[in-house]
Subunit: 435 residues, 2 copies
């Protein structure tokens, strides 16, 4: 029976030894929702996890099976990447971002998670004294944990308080000490789904050059700002990137969401040639390799996992190549998330909720994989808990280092018409009881 | 034309900017051999790299393709491992090592390389003050590099000088300060192919317990001591392991060599339950997870790569399961390496060479994936260079942290009858010229 009582909810939370629901891991929240499903006898609406809600791209599966049948499984792939993935990555980036990155600078990783962890390792080492990461909040909590694992300091700020020209001033303030070696953000943003404007990307790029900071631009949701149609390869408009405004950048392009290929743990790190070929005395000495790129490949990635699953590289190569050829319309495929978001936003907005991260410049944010909602002056914790009582599971914005009150909604698992009906009914019931 | 002159050889070494051939990476040595092939117009005998020289096990390929077709590619696999790999790992270890490790303590990793790197991360943290690794020399140089990357101190010694009862005394001497948190070795050993005797494994296990050191036992070449037939599952004799003598152990079992599956980057770390469930205040605080095993899975492995390629886990699960069922005779398959080694040793020994690491206790070492050779009183550098002049590429023992003079021979790429004929002819010519 829904809603559950406050005491029923609290008992399950306490049974699971969850100390603070707002900082619990997603895995813990999933376990909590499952336990509450059992308690209430009703299925929950799962808005908490970001598993792809589409089938994996068939181009990848076919390429992978073909590669396995042809005998790649017994051969260590080159740590720097098989030639096919390097070529395809270069072509894909030119096709959709209009950036020139040679194949040599395209390096496969075990998901973007390995890319950010291993790149931060090297960013921490490259210049003595430059040991901090600038982390744009809200964001993906794992990246902050990675910096912590590496003993790096984190400099943070909530982007929503510094949009437009304020961003330039804020970056100057945060970077002027010179101790920041790298910055990381995802664009579109997880969880807020805000997208930097071209003006903001220019501020970021200019600051990266001015203060010698290397930008890790996480393109996990590349092309999913559906307000603009970026779906035609080698034709404008191109997907915005900081790479237009600085040479100090590394792109992280994961197959997980754009190709619904999360299970195979495959991504590429694409370095600007200026980053790849730059020499650092301290890296030269430690790794005995001539430049940043080779230190990364043969020093760090070799150490981390001796490279990336051979067949998954073949899949990623095929998917990027076919996307650049216009045969794999990955942006059109992911538009499904935008449609789901639009319907779900209506359900929230018509029941007293508001969008927390609401605007990019003058425009409403795009409909995509995530959005954020608040309710009246509810704290994130109260909202997350009250929604759970009504059978809706989400994560609090606090867990994404946001300073705002609210929860993150992920649209990916809303795969059936019934899910939308249930969501509407529960939000209505929630709103009726809290008016 | 072979042999190349000394000056021809030195010119190519200098062209490739190789400063010291004895400490160059294997990748550099491969590049050198390729350049010398071009120079001489003759194919070289490649004894330097350890790529599997057999086809990947078909059981794995079939399981992987089936999993991909059934749709696993879009789903993040559980970081702790899919149920199948956890069950199969537990069964496989019982079948061939006669150790009891529950499925919960079997954790997939992106090759044993990721396992050792991420485990060392946690070993360094677990008890303040215990921050050193004991590394058995000679060994796999990457593991020492991993410790260096993590800022750990390394304590090292050459096993050949401390066989039998001397090992017990040596371990007491090295561990009594209490600053060693973990030790790592591979058994059979890379490069020497020596195998610890049961007596020696007992000394290691007892020392691990006495000094609270956790053993990382790298079973990369598990079962390939062909002097004893370990090929029947659930039947003695079982493959020797330190797990019989201490609870402080973690096994690293990689598919790369035992199943010729190196390309897919899949292994399991198998923790004794005592290691998995142990609690450490410092880890509890840092990761907010209750025990070593969960800190490892949800703290470290999640950070490192968000888990392991889904289809590769399915392959590893199927291969371990079928091996334990007696249907995949992986030890019989790898016996091919022993046959190659036997022929190659004859060729070396009948041309004036000797085996450097020669005995385990009273017995000659086994024929397997590697062996080590010396020639007269030649230094490792001189021997490696002189062999290159005659078209034989190897790596020096110095690059494996050995204190002995000689080179490592890997048998894996000796796949054709002609390779053996060429090797014999070149070694004869070498010996004739150096007598």
């Amino acid at each position: 029976m829904l809603p559950l009582s406050v005491s029923e909810l609290n008992k399950v939370i306490s049974d699971l030894e969850i100390q603070d629901i707002t900082t619990a891991t997603i895995r813990q929240i999933v376990a909590l929702a499952k336990a509450l499903e059992k308690k209430s006898g009703e299925s929950f609406i799962h808005l908490e996890i970001g598993n792809p809600g589409l089938m994996a791209e068939n181009v990848g599966i076919e390429a992978e099976c073909k590669a396995l049948q042809s005998g790649v499984a017994n051969t260590y792939p080159d740590i720097s990447g098989i030639p096919e993935i390097k070529e395809a990555g270069s072509k894909f980036i030119k096709a959709f971002l209009d950036l020139d990155i040679p194949p040599k600078c395209i390096i496969p990783t075990v998901g973007s998670m390995q890319a950010s962890y291993t790149l931060m390792t090297l960013l921490k080492q490259r210049i003595p004294g430059k040991d901090s990461m600038l982390i744009f909040d809200p964001g993906f909590p794992a990246q902050k944990h990675q910096a912590k694992m590496l003993g790096m300091n984190c400099v943070e700020f909530d982007i929503y308080d510094y949009r437009g020209p304020k961003l330039k001033t804020k970056l100057d303030e945060l970077l002027q000490d010179g101790n920041v070696t790298g910055m990381i953000y995802s664009n579109p943003n997880n969880p807020s789904w805000s997208n930097f404007t071209e003006e903001e990307l220019r501020y970021i790029g200019e600051a990266a050059t001015k203060y010698d900071v290397i930008v890790l631009e996480d393109l996990a949701y590349m092309g999913m700002d559906f307000r603009t149609d970026y779906s035609l390869p080698f034709k404008p408009p191109y997907i915005p990137s900081v790479g237009k405004y600085t040479d100090n950048y590394i792109l992280l392009i994961s197959a997980s969401k754009i190709f619904s290929y999360a299970g195979q743990r495959i991504a590429v790190a694409a370095m600007s040639p200026e980053v790849f070929y730059r020499r650092y005395p301290v890296l030269d000495k430690f790794y005995e390799m001539p430049n940043f790129g080779e230190c990364y490949i043969y020093g760090v990635l070799y150490t981390a996992s001796s490279g990336v699953t051979h067949s998954a590289q073949c899949a990623m190569a095929a998917m990027m190549d076919e996307a650049a050829n216009g045969n794999l319309k990955f942006i059109d495929h992911t538009k499904e998330y935008g449609k789901r978001a639009s319907k779900m936003k209506n359900a929230f907005l018509s029941n007293g909720f508001h969008i927390v991260y609401e605007k990019d410049g003058d425009h409403d944010i795009s409909d995509g994989f995530f959005f954020t909602v608040g309710y009246k002056n509810f704290s994130g914790e109260l909202l997350q808990k009250e929604l759970l009582r009504y059978g809706v599971s989400s994560i609090s914005l606090k867990s994404t280092n946001s300073t705002k009150d609210g929860v993150r909604v992920c649209v990916s698992l809303m795969t059936k018409e019934d899910h939308f009906k249930d969501l509407e009914a529960r939000l209505k019931s929630f709103n009726d009881d809290h008016k």
